[in-house]
């Protein structure tokens, strides 16, 4: 397997159904003269899973026969939920987590949002569009808590950033 193929198999520690490539956290893998350089970007700056991701990538590459591995942090351009791949979105929905919509495009000062935005989030359990936000902050930095008004089930939603 190429180094890029090995790196692409490594999964996210918090969302193990997704690979780091699905999440858009894995930015690049380059290989030259036996040395592999992997660039990853944090979803949120405080993400406590970054160290684990680094370890997991290094272990996977070393055990696949690439002993010389360097994992680089890349902060810019900042991660956006738009980088979650189509297969990543399917896997999220299959795991009961609503995938993000399109991230907001920004020009000029950021407007203040005083009421919860109108929902376009579909319930991953029953498919209803009648869902409401309960909290913008969930079990991990990248997810919000929502509830479906149709089937009454709570679910998580990956925030658009």
């Amino acid at each position: 397997m190429t180094a890029a193929a090995v790196a692409a198999t490594v999964t996210d520690p918090e969302l193990p159904m997704l690979t780091l490539a699905d999440l858009g956290v894995l930015r690049s893998v380059s290989e030259s003269g036996g040395r592999v350089v992997v660039a990853i970007t944090p979803t949120y700056t405080g993400c406590p899973a970054m160290d684990t991701m680094r370890d997991d990538l290094e272990h996977a590459l070393v055990s696949a026969g690439y002993p010389d591995v360097e994992i680089r942090t890349q902060l810019s351009p900042a991660w956006t939920s738009d980088w979650i791949s189509a297969s990543g979105r399917r896997k999220l929905a299959a795991a009961g987590i609503a995938p993000p919509g399109a991230a907001p495009r920004r020009s000029g000062p950021i407007p203040l949002t005083l009421s919860a935005p109108v929902s376009r989030v579909l319930c991953p359990h029953c498919g209803s569009a009648d869902t409401e936000e309960q909290s913008r902050f969930g079990a991990t930095a990248c997810k919000a808590l929502r509830r479906c008004r149709a089937c009454l089930e709570p679910f998580e939603h990956v925030k658009e950033i």
């Binding site: 999964t11 520690p13 193990p16 350089v37 660039a39 944090p42 949120y44 700056t45 405080g46 993400c47 406590p48 899973a49 970054m50 160290d51 684990t52 680094r54 370890d55 997991d56 272990h59 996977a60 360097e70 994992i71 680089r72 942090t73 890349q74 902060l75 810019s76 351009p77 900042a78 991660w79 000062p109 950021i110 203040l112 949002t113 005083l114 009421s115 919860a116 309960q134 909290s135 913008r136 902050f137 969930g138 079990a139 930095a141 808590l145 925030k159 950033i161």
Partner: protein
């Protein structure tokens, strides 16, 4: 790497995967951290320290709300905001250690400096009070920081610009969370209204400091003021609250948080923040 069960994962030897304690990997690892030509590294470091300390100390105050917030959802929200700010602090303190050539780590900045070496604004260290105080602080802090970080996205230092670019997305959520509570409490019952106004009134003397440029500062601290005022007015109007008119709290001979002059409660905060690291300075856990 994956494990068949969680117990296997936690018994692995020499495991650096736990997100607490010392022994973190450098959060800027692998990034080009050279100081751009024409930029004074010591000055850049001093500025990153100011912004990093703001985030570190305010994050600590937010963490004190764990188990004390009115609802579980707010516990989670406040803890998430604290975590984002801690992430910003890690990057900024690490940047400071690279820019001044001292190679000091984020841990040595956070755990091994004395009170008068911290450069955070005094507003970041205010603790105690009720939920109205917390929301007032969080709204003012995140509105100010978001306006400032939008300026920093075009910083001459690419590392600082990248940190700001990421921070802007997080701070947008923080500001919205605080503003929505500000409106709910301000435009709520007579009691919640008076508590919210009280929170703003007591915090107001610390606001002027946010916009006064310190000599070592890297950008003009007054630049974010117009956006800050516009957002504040919008939120206050929706919340039926009034902008406090009290004056600015004086420093000591003009010296304030950016000069290492802090309020009385700051020493207690640092004692808690640093006690374990100071008791066991070489510990890794």
């Amino acid at each position: 790497m994956s494990f068949d069960n969680v117990y296997e994962a936690i018994t692995e030897e020499n495991d650096a995967r736990w997100a607490f304690g010392t022994g973190f990997e450098d959060p800027l690892s692998g990034m080009d951290t050279s100081v751009p030509s024409g930029v004074d590294g010591a000055r850049l470091a001093a500025y990153c320290l100011m912004l990093g300390d703001d985030a570190l100390i305010f994050s600590h105050r937010l963490q004190e709300w764990c188990t004390n917030a009115p609802e579980l959802e707010d516990e989670v929200a406040i803890a998430n905001i604290a975590l984002d700010l801690l992430g910003q602090a890690r990057l900024l303190l690490a940047r400071a250690g690279k820019a001044d050539g001292s190679s000091r780590t984020e841990d040595s900045f956070a755990f091994l400096r004395a009170e008068n070496e911290f450069r955070n604004v005094r507003l970041a260290e205010l603790g105690g009070g009720h939920f109205g105080h917390l929301i007032a602080r969080l709204f003012v802090f995140s509105t100010w920081r978001l306006a400032l970080f939008q300026q920093l996205e075009s910083s001459v230092d690419p590392v600082l610009a990248a940190i700001a670019d990421k921070g802007v997305k997080e701070l947008t959520y923080h500001r919205d969370y605080a503003a929505q509570w500000l409106v709910r409490l301000g435009d709520g019952t007579p009691l919640s209204h008076s508590r919210m106004q009280e929170g703003l009134d007591e915090l107001w003397p610390y606001v002027g400091e946010l916009f006064r440029t310190h000599p070592t500062e890297f950008v003009d601290a007054a630049l974010p003021r117009p956006e800050f005022d516009a957002v504040l007015d919008q939120a206050l109007a929706a919340a039926t609250l009034v902008r406090p008119s009290s004056g600015e709290l004086a420093g000591v001979s003009g010296r304030t948080g950016r000069d290492g002059v802090h309020t009385e409660s700051f020493g207690y905060l640092l004692a808690e923040l640093q006690s374990v690291a100071r008791a066991m300075p070489d510990a890794k856990w």
